[in-house]
């Protein structure tokens, strides 16, 4: 990538050669010292950062400082001092923040994995106080990378910080779409948990129960489509843990996934609460075996031997990379019941 400048259409002119910057004394980074891990800076970067140090030294906050910091940020979007000084300058000279947000759109899309880019955006949105258009922008960035951690954090911050009904309204359909594209997108599953259960204190008991029911059904439906999906199983467990519902309530559902082959469906009426694995599903499902072992373990003494048998099958056949863990679970359960 060639070094972009503040205005991509014009040739880059060094700050040292700009007459309007002649009054600033540039400050070089090193004098008589051998630095660790020095970077062989491009001439453009060195020039701009020398002038940046010069500007900071005299504490100047002006329109041209915005131009200078933009040059630096485009060359190095992780330059946190330039970002920080830029934001202080914007506030100090009461610059309009809407155009800054537009510029931020470009910079965010160009460097979506840089902390500073998102932090600056957060400062702007907080100051502007108009979060509504941000969800669409966020969705656009997620289109390029549906698992970008920063993008998701930003979305969760936006929802929680502004906490407006209209912001929350379409989150579930939005997640549905993402999970239809990729049912193993754990960020989307996590977001679903956030939206369903961590929105704030829910005093309405009936509503809380309805949400648990709805989400259990959702998770099971997705498991039926693709059983070997840790995200969906973790979500199912998460709901049960969160709402303190015993795993045994889902035993009828999970048991269908620990067999070797999909059982022929026949003419039975489909049990909507316990969707069976889709045809062609790869069985047995290790996550279901683990789940059933937990159900048996929780049932006490008589369940332990069944749990041990399931853990054994994980250790020896179905999940061998975690062999030591499953053997630990066996030792632990046997020791615990031995004491009881």
């Amino acid at each position: 990538m060639s070094a972009p400048t503040a205005d991509d259409t014009t040739e880059h002119v060094f700050y040292a050669e700009r007459p309007e910057w002649a009054d600033v004394v540039p400050v070089v980074q090193y004098e008589n010292i051998q630095p660790l891990a020095p970077i062989f800076y491009s001439p453009e970067y060195k020039d701009a950062t020398d002038y940046f140090r010069g500007v900071v030294k005299i504490g100047e906050k002006s329109l041209r400082v915005l131009q200078l910091t933009e040059t630096i940020i485009r060359l190095n979007p992780a330059h946190y001092s330039a970002w920080q000084y830029r934001y202080e300058t914007l506030i100090a000279i009461s610059a309009p923040l809407q155009p800054e947000l537009v510029l931020s759109n470009t910079l965010t899309k160009a460097s979506p994995k840089t902390y500073q880019v998102w932090h600056h955006r957060r400062l702007l949105l907080t100051a502007l106080g108009d979060p509504a258009p941000e969800l669409a922008f966020n969705e656009e960035v997620l289109k390029a990378d549906a698992k970008n951690y920063h993008t998701w954090s930003h979305r969760q911050w936006l929802l929680a910080h502004f906490d407006q009904e209209n912001l929350w309204a379409d989150e579930l359909p939005f997640i549905d779409g993402l999970l239809e594209d990729d049912v193993r997108n754990n960020s989307a599953w996590h977001h679903r948990f956030f939206v369903s259960f961590e929105r704030g204190s829910n005093d309405d008991k009936d509503e809380a129960e309805a949400i648990v029911k709805r989400e259990l059904a959702f998770a099971k439906e997705k498991i039926a489509l693709a059983p070997n999906n840790s995200s969906a199983w973790n979500y199912l467990r998460g709901i049960l843990d969160h709402s303190r519902v015993p795993y045994s309530t889902q035993a009828i559902f999970a048991r269908q996934y620990i067999v070797d082959t999909v059982e022929p469906r026949g003419n039975d009426i489909l049990d909507l609460e316990n969707p069976p694995p889709s045809e062609g599903a790869e069985l047995p499902c290790a996550a279901a075996i683990e789940f059933m072992a937990d159900v048996h373990e929780a049932s006490g003494n008589e369940g332990i031997s069944e749990a041990v048998e399931l853990w054994r099958s994980l250790a020896d056949t179905h999940d061998t990379i975690r062999k030591r863990y499953w053997e630990y679970r066996i030792r632990n359960a046997v020791a615990t019941t031995g004491k009881a």
């Binding site: 051998q34 970067y45 950062t49 030294k57 400062l123 969760q156 979500y235």
Partner: protein
């Protein structure tokens, strides 16, 4: 999956040390985005030398003096902003901190992560911290703490996440001074980062991720016993079980993925492996499979990359070797033992603890 327990390929320590030496000497212009975190690169490179037992042999007296001087130059600095600032407190900021409040994003703020990296890099170089103003360092850590208990990179920056909580806790542990922070609020912040999967997100309500999970657990276990009575300074048994389960679940194809349903990445061998070790469950992961994955991430000309076939960097080189130092996949991979809480060799961690500590009470 091949679960053969045969010997692993050799660890190319000589090549990895050479890679780190090259990076210490200079980085190409294409890595300009690393400019603000060069102290971290110094820490990873020096740490690699330390873990492989090469710090004594591979660092000449001249280099040691020059590097130490450069690190301290970032501390005292000049009366202007250099991007490598760490604990530099200008007289102006010092006055503001002693007043007890810092308003708005500071222009002269120190950087908490770089402070952590600098203190440990100095420990590898066996510096005596004679120039360190300990009370000012403690005040700086306190000034980085936000009202909600989290820690920002610089006082008032408002960019808190668990990385800085971890760095703040290490500095408190090294100073042996926990009075400079609001510990109860800091612990509450950590617990708010816990997610339903059993891991921790970077910030409250975030998705479970290997790095922050390490930061959370190391921070909790750095809290000394006398403060551990503070409610929730350790995991509850039910939390311990969920966290161990989730950490082990992210081991996939030998390496650790860091998040559910992601591909393995060498650095998570450390973040997840060290987290398990801190929880006393380090023996439950498949060390041989992890070692085999890390061996495949070795670049033929030295250095380790995040995944096989990619280009190496100091971050993945150091963390892969640190992971190997913890899980010891092969006795032939001779490495120095690592302190998983401080993230340095035992000798270096001991050096930092004895030399950073405030010895005399402040008059």
């Amino acid at each position: 999956m091949d679960l053969g327990v045969g010997a692993l390929p050799a660890l190319n320590s000589v090549g990895h040390v050479a890679h780190c030496r090259r990076c210490l000497d200079g980085l190409p212009a294409s890595l300009v985005e690393m400019d603000a975190s060069r102290m971290a690169i110094a820490f990873y490179c020096l740490g690699t030398l330390d873990l492989t037992g090469s710090a004594e042999r591979k660092i000449s007296t001249t280099d040691r003096e020059n590097w130490t001087e450069w690190i301290w130059a970032q501390y005292v600095g000049k009366p202007l902003r250099s991007r490598q600032r760490f604990i530099r407190l200008t007289p102006r900021l010092r006055r503001r901190l002693s007043l007890g409040s810092v308003r708005g994003p500071s222009t002269d703020g120190p950087h908490l992560i770089m402070t952590y990296c600098a203190l440990l890099a100095l420990a590898v170089l066996r510096d005596d911290y004679a120039a360190l103003d300990r009370p000012a360092l403690a005040r700086m850590v306190g000034a980085c703490q936000d009202a909600d208990g989290g820690f920002a990179t610089t006082p008032g920056a408002g960019d808190a996440d668990l990385r800085m909580t971890y760095c703040a806790f290490v500095v408190c542990a090294l100073l042996d001074d926990w009075s400079c922070i609001d510990l109860a609020r800091a612990l509450s912040y950590i617990h708010r980062c816990r997610s339903y999967e059993g891991g921790y997100g970077q910030t409250p309500r975030g998705e479970s991720l290997g790095g922050p999970t390490y930061c959370a657990l190391a921070a909790l276990h750095l809290v000394p016993a006398e403060h551990a009575r503070t409610p929730r300074a350790r995991l509850q048994p039910v939390e311990w079980r969920a966290t161990v389960r989730w950490l082990l679940q992210t081991q996939s194809g030998g390496g650790f993925a860091g998040r559910t349903n992601k591909v393995p990445d060498a650095c998570y061998g450390f973040w997840c492996g060290a987290a398990l070790s801190i929880l006393g469950a380090g023996d439950l992961l498949d060390a041989h499979a992890l070692g085999a994955f890390l061996a495949r991430c070795q670049y033929k000309f030295g250095g380790i990359s995040k995944a096989p076939g990619e280009h190496p960097d100091p971050y993945h080189t150091y963390l892969s070797i640190a992971a190997a130092a913890i899980v010891s996949p092969d006795p032939k991979w001779e490495l120095q033992p690592l302190d998983p809480l401080i993230n340095a060799t035992l000798d270096t961690a001991r050096w930092a603890k004895t030399h950073v500590r405030v010895t005399a009470p402040e008059s």
